[in-house]
Symmetry: none
Subunit: 405 residues, 2 copies
């Protein structure tokens, strides 16, 4: 019987057929196919049939957390994704740096400003709210996240983002009658004003104005959400657990669920294909010290969003090559699945169910010989849901309790 679990998510790898085939079916994937051949296969609706998942909601579900209960909006997950160590009860927001001139938002993205380190630093240093911790972190480009931490706060408030240019920044208003919402709206309005004071004359902005570029002198605040209290995965299952991923959103979700994020250094300078092997090896190494490792591999999703059938095929073949060492794993239940389909014909996520395979001691090996979304339904798992994965896995490693006698 296996005692460890390696859960690999091929982000967006699943597809709809083009001329009768899909990137997964068209790709030459001997290692994936060997794992399918020696394992049990099926289709999975990560949320439910026909429900189009995000990567955040689907990863929550696959980790065993009902997204309808634990997904409280994008703010908290974005904040975790950009590296803020969010805590249950925090109020988190997505932000844009924007340009305010004469009281009017003239550019909602501040000319797609890139260099926001200094601005973020100034915001963290200068913006103060009595009794509330204000945490601000920049993300890529003009994007950023904001967290308010303290007692007596609420996410029942409106955005300050006017949504289009030529309008003033909106006042933040409470959306219910609670004193918490009233107070939080006041805090957001105060933060909004303090940010302008903190960064309007910042050297970066002085320089940008000189060059005729829009200043990033305000932030637009939206998507308020209360960070959910997520029961930590390691305590819930009694497993020492880690996540290997590059995408901020997946790292953030992993951390929010209590998974240790294992960083792989020097990835930036690597080719995408080289990254896959490095991450697979990192995950295999992690299994020496952890009971559960979540490995997210992102590239197929990007190919899907770009509509690149051939690019998706090539990426999946590279993934397959990097999976050669998986066949030497012992004592481990290997689960390979996908968080959502990203059809190249759609260039977006779809709800088409995704293939899932489980390979390891004790599984009921079926007659499926390839890992594709067109053959998986013939396998012994039939059609399961994301929320079933951890329950099934914990049963297969004999680490679960009986319900009844």
């Amino acid at each position: 019987m296996a005692s460890k679990i390696l859960l690999i998510v091929l982000d967006g790898a699943s597809d709809r057929p083009v001329n009768g085939t899909t990137p997964l079916a068209h790709a030459v994937t001997p290692n994936l196919d060997a794992l399918a051949f020696g394992g049990i296969n099926g289709l999975m609706d990560t949320i439910a049939p026909g429900i189009r998942p995000g990567s955040d909601t689907s990863h929550l579900a696959i980790l065993g957390y009902d997204p309808y209960k634990y997904y409280t909006g994008r703010g908290p997950f974005e904040a975790a994704g950009v590296g803020i160590e969010v805590k249950g009860g925090d109020i988190a927001f997505r932000c844009n740096f924007a340009t305010l001139e004469g009281g009017i938002v003239t550019d909602r993205r501040a000319g797609r400003i890139e260099d926001t380190d200094e601005l973020a630093k100034a915001i963290n240093e200068k913006v103060k709210v009595p009794g509330v911790e204000v945490i601000f972190k920049r993300s890529t480009g003009h994007r950023a996240a904001l967290v308010l931490r303290g007692k007596g706060l609420s996410a029942a408030i409106t955005d300050t983002d006017p949504k289009k240019e030529g309008l003033p920044i909106k006042e933040c208003h409470p959306t219910d009658d609670s004193p918490e919402a009233k107070r939080t709206a006041e805090i957001v309005n105060s933060v909004s004003k303090q940010v302008l004071e903190a960064i309007d004359q910042s050297p970066v902005n002085v320089e940008r104005r000189k060059m005729g570029l829009p200043a990033g002198n305000v932030i637009l605040i939206r998507g308020a959400g209360e960070v959910p209290h997520i029961p930590p995965f390691p305590e819930r299952h009694g497993l020492k657990a880690a996540v290997v991923a590059n995408a901020g959103l997946i790292i953030g979700i992993g951390k929010m669920c209590g998974l240790e994020h294992l960083t792989v250094s020097g990835m930036e300078s690597m080719e995408p294909v080289e990254r896959i092997s490095v991450k697979v090896n990192k995950a295999l190494e992690a299994l020496q010290t952890h009971d559960f490792v979540l490995l997210n591999i992102k590239g197929a999703d990007e190919a899907g969003h770009d509509g690149g059938f051939e690019r998706k095929v090539q990426f999946l073949e590279a993934v397959d090559a990097a999976f050669a060492p998986l066949k030497n794993l012992k004592d481990t239940l290997v689960i390979i699945t996908v968080d959502h389909s990203t059809p190249v014909t759609l260039k977006d996520h779809s709800a088409d169910p995704v293939p899932i395979l489980m390979n390891g001691p004790g599984v009921r090996v079926d007659e499926v010989t390839r890992y594709t979304e067109l053959t998986a339904h013939k396998g012994g798992l039939c059609r399961i849901r994301g929320m079933d994965v951890m329950n099934i896995a914990m049963d297969l490693i004999n680490n679960t309790k009986k319900f009844g006698a």
Copy 2:
């Protein structure tokens, strides 16, 4: 169209593969296979995927009762299992006979005492609680069950079992603030003391002390549960219903659901294999007078718990031989399934889904040719749940109402 239902549960028959095969797949089972060949097949999660079922929770689910609603702990089901005619609202407990010396529990099983008839009789005669009926019944060995029946009782109380030897019997305490819990805790403490008075000097105990054996002079009380109000199966479905089973737990569940228990006399002196035929014949006979018969056949579960692959094969082949008369059934929907897997490699229940077949007039016969957990997923039922069985069965015998117009 059939008008009757024979539901056969092969307790624990399902398994995980050993060298690529399972006891069910390895066994020669021409009768089961003929029923699969002529019927519709599928996999079933008795509770839900990955949820490891007990025999009690799984039988409840298969009979159409949500175990998350109706399973109120082991006490009520153990009490029903040892033959107490429990009623909805009763507070039921599991008990041990134990040895108390100088106020200290010196043996939690009273030297694994066997002869407890006289002790149980004394308890039932002498222990009195005003306004409350106290029902005590011995089970096998040192085990017993206790039921308190009356108004104003609660199961929100602690155990008296100190869990290890060398400690006094614990006081029973309420676990909520209700007057019912306070009163019930007082009653349990009173019963605990009265039992000592009732049986400490009982002839059995005097004799045991003479022989240097630990006396069974107290009972340890645990697992309080309120007997659920289960809507009677016959009224719910309009079916005259019976259960044929040997295991106390299954008989108890059958009775709690309002099924008539049909006893088969003289089973004790029979070989296990002989018992199967007698029980199958009893079930077939019962179909003359009843609309629904639940037949539970226990042996495969025991072989699984003992880890005996070959023993499980032999038992299943004996079961199959006893099923020869099933092919002559007319007017009956035959359902053959399993309550949970008991893999010989695990020696305990697992959550691996179990095979289910339905054979009778009107079913959509599929291409499955054998009754095994490795082939069932190819059938027309795909993967269903225990709670679906009665709904599907009632529809197939055309004894159900339309939802809508």
